[in-house]
């Protein structure tokens, strides 16, 4: 079963790292096939940034996300550009503070979770840049595409030494919020 994930935002949000961690969790720890690709502008911060992850139980041929079932949209630009790519019934996570202008009609096709992820990350760990990890936790919980322990291991592989606890805290907050979302408690 081919599952496509698209993460869009701007440079500095950890968009590509989130894609790498998700792909690693699937390919190395869940024993699945996964391809992570990326697109970014020449700037390292501020420019548009996109990561795509295709996960499957068989070898992945075409490596890009055509009709993603899962979208993480972390900027207005990413929202405007990629929302319509979503497959019917796709799970869409939106950084609501950064996406002030929404297309409610189009969103009806999807299962949308809009939260101020950056603010929540800052309140949880004291660092807004742990937002990408928090969102991954949320996606893991609401999608079930990879195992929770696999994403934990992949986060620990990828984050800088000394920040493990901080990032796990963000991840677990994501799990917690995801669980609440599934129970309709958000």
């Amino acid at each position: 079963m081919r599952k496509e994930v698209l993460i869009g935002g701007f440079g500095g949000q950890g968009v590509i790292l989130a894609g790498v961690i998700l792909g690693r969790a699937a390919a190395v720890y869940d024993g699945l096939y996964a391809v992570q690709t990326q697109a970014y502008g020449p700037e390292s911060r501020g420019g548009a940034s996109r990561a795509e992850v295709v996960i499957s139980d068989e070898p992945v041929d075409y490596p890009k996300a055509l009709n993603p079932k899962y979208l993480i949209l972390l900027s207005q630009e990413a929202y405007d550009k990629y929302l319509s790519f979503g497959d019917d019934g796709a799970i869409i996570l939106i950084e609501e503070e950064l996406v002030p202008h929404r297309n409610k009609e189009l969103e009806e096709r999807f299962k949308v979770y809009a939260l101020p992820f950056t603010e929540i990350a800052e309140n949880t760990t004291g660092l807004s840049l742990t937002m990408n990890i928090l969102v991954l936790g949320f996606l893991t919980k609401v999608s079930g595409i990879i195992k929770e322990e696999s994403i934990e291991k992949a986060v620990l592989d990828a984050v800088p030494k000394g920040t493990e606890e901080l990032n796990l805290k963000a991840l677990h907050k994501g799990f917690e919020l995801g669980k609440k979302a599934l129970n309709g408690e958000l």
């Binding site: 790498v20 792909g23 690693r24 390919a27 190395v28 096939y33 996964a34 391809v35 992570q36 690709t37 990326q38 697109a39 970014y40 502008g41 020449p42 992945v60 041929d61 075409y62 490596p63 890009k64 055509l66």
Partner: protein, 381 residues
């Protein structure tokens, strides 16, 4: 031997990183380069790993210097590599010919991006195929490999070193920005299970005097190692079997160049590698290679579901080229499509191979995005 990365297990890494690790595992101990997107990660990895395996990684003043250093290193007995992208590959053309003429085993990686000139640095393309084959001047042959996945980038890097050493020739690993930057799982084998080929070296002082004599009839002369007692003379000028310039004698030029060409062309069967998908009973064949072939595989799967008998020939080596195989395919199918990320390069080889037995059409794609399966399906349907 301790390696500066884990071996005998799988990892989730970029194509560029896989190429660097495979080179180290193949025995490469000299790397010279100049940073360029989207090949810089190969250099970064080499700069990190080489000192830890008693190798050398050096930043040269430019790509001319990089390939020159690699040629020199190879003559000291080292397995050596450089990596670049289009603009740097253009600068390497002169010395690529020098490597062909002096029969220097080495690997040149071209991580293709959009061109010509500086073009689209961060985006993938397959526009350097003809350059890889024919970019250096004069009659010659060369070997060009085209990986489509990160695992293939790893495996073909090892193969590139083995072919370079076996045939005493430069080998081009022709990949692209998409494969170079994508991450996938790579199974990194136990180093003891990797097949490594090393060049023939002279067996006697007599053989050492003739760095360009084919002693055993396979077209590949033993290669002396600088510093181990042989006074080898190496030049890009047409030379005799001792390596001395002989620039006006037609027969010397002819025997040298024919041997350099034949050692590759006559061993096509050993060098050429390809895969087929659903091709045996196909009415329509798609020929593709590298990253574009992954869209073509998906297109074939979808077309088959629609009842269209499509099949794929995925080329893992684009030179030497099996024109006869293309003709055999052309005899069985109605039409051949060539899907590649350029405005038609391997298309011309396929057309020559088809020899009028089937229509050959190009499915081009430029601009940086890989063909979508739809791009291919709509043309074939």
């Amino acid at each position: 031997m301790r390696y500066p990365f884990s071996v005998g297990r799988s990892d989730f890494i970029q194509g560029d990183e896989a190429i660097a690790r495979a080179a180290i595992l193949a025995g490469c101990r000299f790397y010279a380069g100049y940073p360029i997107t989207p090949a810089s990660e190969i250099f970064e990895a080499m700069a990190l790993y080489m000192p830890l395996v008693d190798g050398v990684s050096i930043q040269m003043e430019d790509e001319l210097g990089s390939i020159a250093a690699v040629i020199g290193a190879s003559w000291t007995g080292a397995k050596a590599m450089t990596a670049t992208s289009g603009p740097g590959f253009s600068l390497m053309m002169e010395n690529l010919g020098y490597a062909v003429m002096t029969e220097t085993p080495m690997v040149v990686v071209d991580v293709q991006r959009g061109g010509p000139s500086t073009g689209q640095p961060t985006l993938a393309a397959q526009g350097d195929v003809m350059q890889a084959i024919w970019g250096t001047h004069g009659d010659h042959s060369i070997i060009v490999l085209t990986p489509a996945t990160v695992q293939e980038a790893f495996d073909m890097t090892i193969r590139a070193f083995n072919l370079a050493e076996k045939y005493r020739t430069p080998v081009v690993l022709l990949t692209d920005g998409e494969v170079g930057h994508m991450r996938e799982r790579v199974n990194i084998p136990d180093p003891d299970e990797i097949e490594r080929i090393y060049r023939k070296i002279p067996k006697s002082k007599e053989q050492g005097k003739y760095p360009f004599r084919d002693w055993d009839g396979d077209g590949v002369p033993p290669m002396p190692v600088f510093g181990r007692g042989y006074r080898a003379y190496i030049t890009g000028l047409t030379h005799d079997e001792r390596g001395k310039p002989k620039t006006v004698e037609a027969e010397i030029h002819e025997s040298l160049i024919r041997r350099i060409v034949d050692k590759i062309e006559k061993n096509k069967k050993d060098i050429i590698d390809y895969e087929t998908f659903d091709l045996d009973d196909a009415d329509v064949a798609i020929v593709s290679y590298g990253i574009a072939s992954r869209s073509a595989i998906r297109a074939v799967k979808i077309l088959r579901k629609e009842g269209i008998k499509a099949g794929l020939l995925k080329l893992n080596v684009v030179w030497p080229f099996d024109f006869e195989m293309i003709e055999r395919i052309a005899e069985r199918v109605n039409r051949i499509y060539v899907a590649e990320m350029n405005l038609g390069q391997v298309y011309h080889l396929v057309k020559e191979g088809a020899n009028g037995k089937a229509e050959v059409e190009l499915i081009p794609k430029i601009g940086g995005e890989v063909h979508t399966p739809k791009d291919i399906i709509e043309r074939v349907r």
